[in-house]
Every structure is written in structure tokens, then in C-alpha cells.
């Protein structure tokens, strides 16, 4: 493809490192397991989806002498099969457990990543009481000695369930049936929620009800880089790019802000030849390398890229 070659030449200037992989199925999740492995999972309906634990290529995980490591490939370390589409996947820190959420069927699946084989096995489920069949529960993990699974489809059904005992340790206690779009655990007692309406709020699990809500504040999916530059991906369905913003340069005004960098690789390296360009489904930051991101798209591509800050060269 002509434009792919052109883009690649451009990429010499735009990126320090760039890796492009083809997964066997597109993923909507990119979850770290330790600092050398990532988890991906398929979301196709009516077929068996794979959940894979991939080990980063040496070239991407060593801290020094990168040049001496020719290994650029991911290794499939563990795998499992899911009969359902996986829309969310969380690793329970310091354990070998994973929690997934998807459709059909409104429940969470708990998995175990084996130690002596390459199998990811389903071990138990967590009920989510929701009658509407097309809705799936958002998930976040309270990591502690007794990990808790925060989940919910609506504000009213927000719950924290102790992973081991399956006892409920928190309920929102509100009647508001607004749909949730994301959950983020902030510390041992607090979490943030975002609704599909754009409402953003904070919850202290030691208190009743929901605190601090703001309207129209979270229509975007954001993630914070370890070094506080922000990667931002427009809500799924928008386009095939990932944009990086620098929050430290924002003066508090919510006017139009230009991105520091826009990753267009998923559009230009799409080999499928279909008319519609792929859409970016998820992204995550590398835990150790401050400018390295991983992004996945609907064409099953997975990119690992380290962008060049062109401002720095001025």
C-alpha cells in the first residue's frame, strides 16, 4: 500500500520505537500483569474468544542496552477460552486471578492464570443483578490483602464484593438508575465513576451515598501516564487515532487544546483493504518507559510506540 510506505518514512521522524503486531482477534482490553506481561481478550459474539497473557519482547522490557536484544516479538505465555465476548478485564494485583465482564449473561467471570501450564482457567463467577440483557457491568479492583471487586451496571447497582468470600462489602444505596460507563479505583477506600450521561463522581466507601458529582465531565476515556502526560482516546466509535495531551501545560481552561502527538498508525498500516478504517479500542501506558504506549484497534492490530516530542528538538 503506497500510503503505508509513506507513513513508515514519516514514522522515522515521528517515533523513536515502533512495533506493530497482528493478534488473532481484536481486543478491547489491555491490562498489565506485572511489568512484563499484558492481557488481551477477544470480544466477538457467537464464537469462542481467546484471553491471552503476552510477554513483552525483550527489546521493549529491558532497561539498558536495548540494542543488544534483537527480540521484537510477543510470546504467548498463557491462554484461555471464553464463550462470551470480553469487554472488560482486570488483573487482581499480587494474585494470579483475573476478573472479566462481558456478554451475554450479566455476571463477572473470575479466572486463574496457571503457574505450571499455559492455561487460563475459569474458576468462579460473581453475580450482577441486572435484568436488561444487553448491558454489561463495569469492573475495578480494590487491591489489598482481601481484594474486592467493584462492579455495577448502574449507579444503583454499584457494589464491592470480597473476592474470596463473595460477601458484599459495599453497596451504593442510591436509587439512581443512571448507566455507568467507567469505574476507577483511586485508593483503598475511594473510587471514581463516570456515567454515560457524562456525570462524574467520587465515592468514599466508608460513607453512604455518592459525593461530588459534576455534569458533562467525562465524555472521554482518559488514562494518566506515569509522568502525567495524558493519553486520550476518543470514545469508541470515533476514529482510529490516539492523542497525547500534556496536562501540565493546561491553564485550567476547558477550551480547545491541541494534542502533543497523534498516533495514526492504525489507519495507515491497516492491511485489510476494507473501506472503513479501523477504530482504536483501547490503549495503555508502559509502566517504566515514560513515552511508550500500547494501543489496540478493531482490526486486531496492536501497536507499541514511543513518540518523539518535536517540541524538544526546537
Amino acid at each position: 500500500m503506497e500510503s503505508a510506505e509513506d507513513w513508515l518514512v514519516e514514522s522515522l521522524r515521528l517515533y523513536q520505537d515502533f512495533h506493530a503486531f497482528d493478534l488473532s482477534g481484536a481486543t478491547r482490553v489491555l491490562e498489565w500483569m506485572g511489568d512484563k506481561g499484558i492481557l488481551v481478550a477477544g470480544y466477538e459474539s457467537l464464537k469462542k474468544n481467546e484471553i491471552l497473557h503476552l510477554i513483552l519482547p525483550l527489546r521493549l522490557s529491558v532497561k539498558e542496552n536495548q540494542g543488544l536484544f534483537p527480540e521484537r516479538d510477543f510470546k504467548v505465555r498463557h491462554g484461555g477460552f471464553s464463550d462470551r465476548s470480553v469487554f472488560a478485564l482486570k488483573h487482581v494485583p499480587d494474585t494470579r486471578l483475573l476478573v472479566t465482564s462481558g456478554l451475554p449473561g450479566c455476571y463477572l467471570q473470575v479466572w486463574q492464570v496457571a503457574e505450571d501450564t499455559d492455561v487460563i482457567k475459569a474458576v468462579s463467577t460473581i453475580d450482577v443483578h441486572e435484568t436488561e440483557g444487553s448491558l454489561w457491568s463495569r469492573v475495578a479492583i480494590f487491591s489489598s490483602a482481601a481484594p474486592g471487586v467493584l462492579h455495577g451496571v448502574r449507579l444503583s447497582s454499584l457494589k464491592v464484593v470480597d473476592l474470596e468470600s463473595q460477601k458484599t462489602t459495599y453497596t451504593s444505596g442510591v436509587g439512581d438508575s443512571e448507566l455507568l460507563s467507567s469505574l476507577q479505583v483511586l485508593d483503598a477506600d475511594t473510587f471514581a465513576f463516570c456515567c454515560t450521561s457524562g456525570r462524574l463522581g467520587l465515592v468514599d466507601t466508608r460513607q453512604k451515598g455518592l459525593q461530588g458529582a459534576q455534569e458533562g465531565a467525562c465524555s472521554l476515556v482518559i488514562s494518566l501516564a506515569p509522568a502525567v502526560k495524558v493519553a486520550h482516546r476518543k470514545a469508541p466509535g470515533f476514529d482510529g487515532t490516539v492523542q497525547v495531551y500534556d496536562v501540565t501545560s493546561w491553564d485550567g481552561m476547558w477550551g480547545r487544546v491541541d494534542p502533543l502527538f497523534t498516533h495514526r498508525g492504525h489507519i495507515f498500516l491497516d492491511d485489510n483493504g476494507v473501506d472503513t478504517a479501523p477504530l482504536v479500542t483501547t490503549h495503555t501506558w508502559h509502566p517504566d518507559k515514560p513515552r511508550t504506549l500500547l494501543s489496540a484497534a478493531s482490526d486486531a492490530s496492536l501497536h507499541v510506540w514511543d513518540w518523539v516530542d518535536l517540541r524538544a528538538s526546537c
Binding site: 520505537d17 543488544l68 521484537r72 505450571d116 501450564t117
Partner: protein, 615 residues
Amino acid sequence: MPEIRVTPLGAGQDVGRSCILVSIGGKNVMLDCGMHMGFSDDRRFPDFSYITRNGRLTDFLDCVIISHFHLDHCGALPYFSEMVGYDGPIYMTQPTQAICPILLEDYRKIAVDKKGEANFFTSQMIKDCMKKVVAVHLHQTVQVDDELEIKAYYAGHVLGAAMFQIKVGSESVVYTGDYNMTPDRHLGAAWIDKCRPNLLITESTYATTIRDSKRCRERDFLKKVHETVERGGKVLIPVFALGRAQELCILLETFWERMDLKAPIYFSTGLTEKANHYYKLFIPWTNQKIRKTFVQRNMFEFKHIKAFDRAFADSPGPMVRSGLRGPARLGPCLQVVFATPGMLHAGQSLQIFRKWAGSERNMVIMPGYCVQGTVGHKILSGQRKLEMEGRQVLEVKMQVEYMSFSAHADAKGIMQLVGQAEPENVLLVHGEAKKMEFLKQKIEQEFRVSCYMPANGETVTLSTSPSIPVGISLGLLKREMAQGLLPDAKKPRLLHGTLIMKDSNFRLVSSEQALKELGLAEHQLRFTCRVHLHDTRKEQETALRVYSHLKSVLKDHCVQHLPDGSVTVESILIQAAAHSEDPSTKVLLVSWTYQDEELGSYLTSLLKKGLPQAS
């Protein structure tokens, strides 16, 4: 049960010592004979004790097949044939045959001269070993003997690499060696037809790998070269004669053109000396694009890439020729150079390395594995101070980059190949079965095949049901057709005949014809059963009662009452006689030939139930 047995040889699970023993249809074939480059003791060789236990190797093995010239696939060949002892045929493709001995000799020199190894195979052994080689062409069926045949398929990966099909009768095995499913700039992609082998043997590491795209690997190479050149540095790229050099030259030429760069690229004439010789071998093995572009001209003739004479490497500017035979003239300084040998252990590449190592602006890009003992291996291990000849210490300040351009298949590629060949079973070598349950399940589910993962030294036995073609005689066919029922694929019908195996011929004929051909007379077997009945009347009346009874019960059969009083049901004869001692008991003699066994038994049990009361 006919079976196929596969045993990967060698200790340890690492990739790097390919050698697989296959037994099929009574034939024994060795696939590859590699050396593990990481070990300097016996662990580097496959474990041949497994087969030497069976006596003389030449008698036990029908042939050895080598998939390509990489040392982890052919490195142990001279040791195996000349030191362990094997005099049978060794099959490989032509480019493999041409390149193998060169790599083996290089390796031998390094092992003996640089590492001081004793008990290593000699140059003469390499030559003697190569005398046993029989070169094969792609898609050409080669008869090893009158039962065993082999065929090579294009594997991509490196020049001359092939996948092999081994066939005995209707049983076959396909061994992939190393292959690549996406085309290179200079090689095509692997391809195989829907040959449906009983077994496909391939590497497990492929199945657990998700590869970075070729474009990104190339990008990395270009970026490093470009950046070094931009900052005024020099780039040395040590290469082995062909294949990789060609690929990288094409890559640089393409992008130099696109990026409108002026810095000239050089390759040493050491490369081009062999060029014409390999050219003839190379062309049938390249992809279409190369053939179209290069068939008309020398394949090292580029716009931006020029040859330089080794004699002038030290002068301020080298003597440059455009093309192979242009006039030599003093040219600009070398900046980007491809030079042999690939592991920096001698010659031009080492010479240039010594000159350039002292500057941090310079870079050396190692495109492949380097054997222990070479300078290449040392710098790739991170060594920065090297002891050269004459106790001179060379400080390496130049950037060292290790890049892998080896084209291998990955998980997706394996699935593609399995989809093409449609094997009944898949066997993965160099993996640990205990740790690969998910992989096994994935392959089994996706293709509905059985997946095996033997450890080194472990034998996998597959039962096969080979189909044997049998000719049916016209007479027999006609007879079956005469029965009036049309053949129906969904309703198999039982056919009686005699199978005659003569020479290598199988025929199905009628029993009569078989007896005739064999000059045998058919035995007649007749069974007679006595049924006792309580009947006070005379025998003739008993017989009549039997006749009436059977006539009414057996409506589908021909029941007759003969003038002599006996009753026949088809060809079964029933006679009534009086019991010698008890006049109120009658004895029915039921007699039939063995062909009528079913009816005869049925009649007997029917009569044993007794006759209905006479009206």
C-alpha cells in the same frame, strides 16, 4: 495397525538442535541434523545413541533430509556422516548444497582456530560428507527407493529453504523445517498444496509467538542507519554472502530513493565474487518481483549501492567501481558498508570494524547469530574491550546493534500452513507438552486435528489407516449390478469376493474365479441336524405336516414337497425318519450347505418348537 513414529533427538528443550527421526511404512528417515550453537560439549549434538542402538546407521536409515543451510539444521551433518558413520543418501535443495559446506567450513575454522577445539570434523570430512548429497528441485518427486519418495516445497525463510513431504504408499508426513508465510523483499512466502498428510511436523515456538511486522523491523534498521549517517557516523553491516545482504541492499536502495538521500552505500567485492555463481541458483528461488526486476541485470547493480575493491580499503577513499566491471576510480570515503564475513571473525568486515570501533558516532549492525569465539559474539554479549592479535586491546566505542531479520512464521502463520496442507495430525517439536495445554487445545479445536508435543527422546506413535487401492474384476461388478440394486453412496452394500494379492497387485474377484485362477477345487460342507418330534403317525405324514407348516410360515421362501417325501426349503433338505427305538418319535434330518447356514439354523430352531396340531 500401520503406524508412523516420530522421535525428536537430542537432550534439552531449546531450539537450536533440530534432528527428528521418522519411521513410516517401514522406512526410517532423519530430518535435519543440527548443531546447538550455545554448547561446546556433547550437548551441542543430537542424541544419536537412540538410532545407533539399531545397528549400522547406513542399514537402519533410508535417507537424511536437510531443510536449509542454517547451522542449527545442518551443523552436525559432517560429524554424523563421517564420525558416527553414515553412507546413505543426504537430500537437500541445490542452494543448500552450495551454501552448506561454506558455512560448515567457516564454523569449523572458528571452532578449531579460535576456540582451539580438538576432535572436531575436518575440512576433508565436510567434503566427504557433501559427496553423499543428492540435490532436489522444488515440487519434484524423488524416489529414494521403490517405496519411499520425497518432495520439496518452497519454504521462504532463507535461500534454498524447503519443506519436505515424505511418502510411502498412501501414508505421508510433511516436515516444515523453518518457514515463513509472508514474503520478503527477496524471497517469497512458503506454499504447500492440499496434500493432506497424515502428519505435519513443525516448531512449537512459532505457535507461541506473535511477530512484530516486517515493516517495523525494516524501519528500525533504516532509522539506525539514517541517524548514524546524519550525525556524520559510519555504519558497518557484516553479512554472509547472499540472502540477507541482498534483502538489506534492496531495502536501503528503495528508501534512499524515496528519502532522496545521497550518502552512497558500499558492499565489498568479496560479496560480488560469488555473485554470479549464486545468481544462477538464486533466481528460481526468489519472488516474482525480484525476478522481474533483476533477471535482466546483475543483481548487485543498484543506483545508490556500489562495489568497492578490498585492496583500497585503507586509502583515503576506496577505489570504486560502478557495477562489477566498470573502470576503477578513487571515490569518496566509505560511510555505509556491507562486508563479509558475517561474524566479524576475519577478513574485510573485521578490518573495517577495527578502524571504526573507536568512535561513538559509528555503528555496527549485526544481522544474525554469531558463533562463540568470534568478535561478533563478544560484542553482542556486551564486551567493550577486545583482545586482538598481538595482544592489542581494542576499545569498542561504536554503537552495537543486534537485529534479527530472520523471517519465521508465527502463530498466525502456522494456522495458515495447516489450513493449506490439511494434515490429519500436527506434531510440534521443541516444546514442553506439560506447559502447552492451551496451545494444544487451540490447534485441536481450530482444525479438528490431534496435536502432539513429544519431548526430545520421546517417541510419538500415530496409527494410520492407509487406504489400499484394489481392482475389482468386471465379472464381479456385473454380477452385483445384475442384482438390480443401483449403487448408493449412502447405503453401503456388502459385497462378497476374494482378495488376491500378487506381486504389488490387489484384485477383488468372485470366489469361483479365484478358485479357478488358483487351480483349487471348492470344498463342499454340509451340516445335518436331527430334530426329534413326538408324532405317532408315519414318516410320510410327518413330512407332509412339516411341509404344510413351513409353507405357511415361510412365505418368502420356496418350499417344496418332493415325490420321495422330503421337503426342501430353497436348497435345504428335510427328511423325516422314524426313531430306531421309539416309534412315537420321528427324527427330522435337516441338511444344508454352509452357504445356507443362516436359513438352516433358523429352520432348525423353528422345527424344534414343534409342529402345529393337525386338523
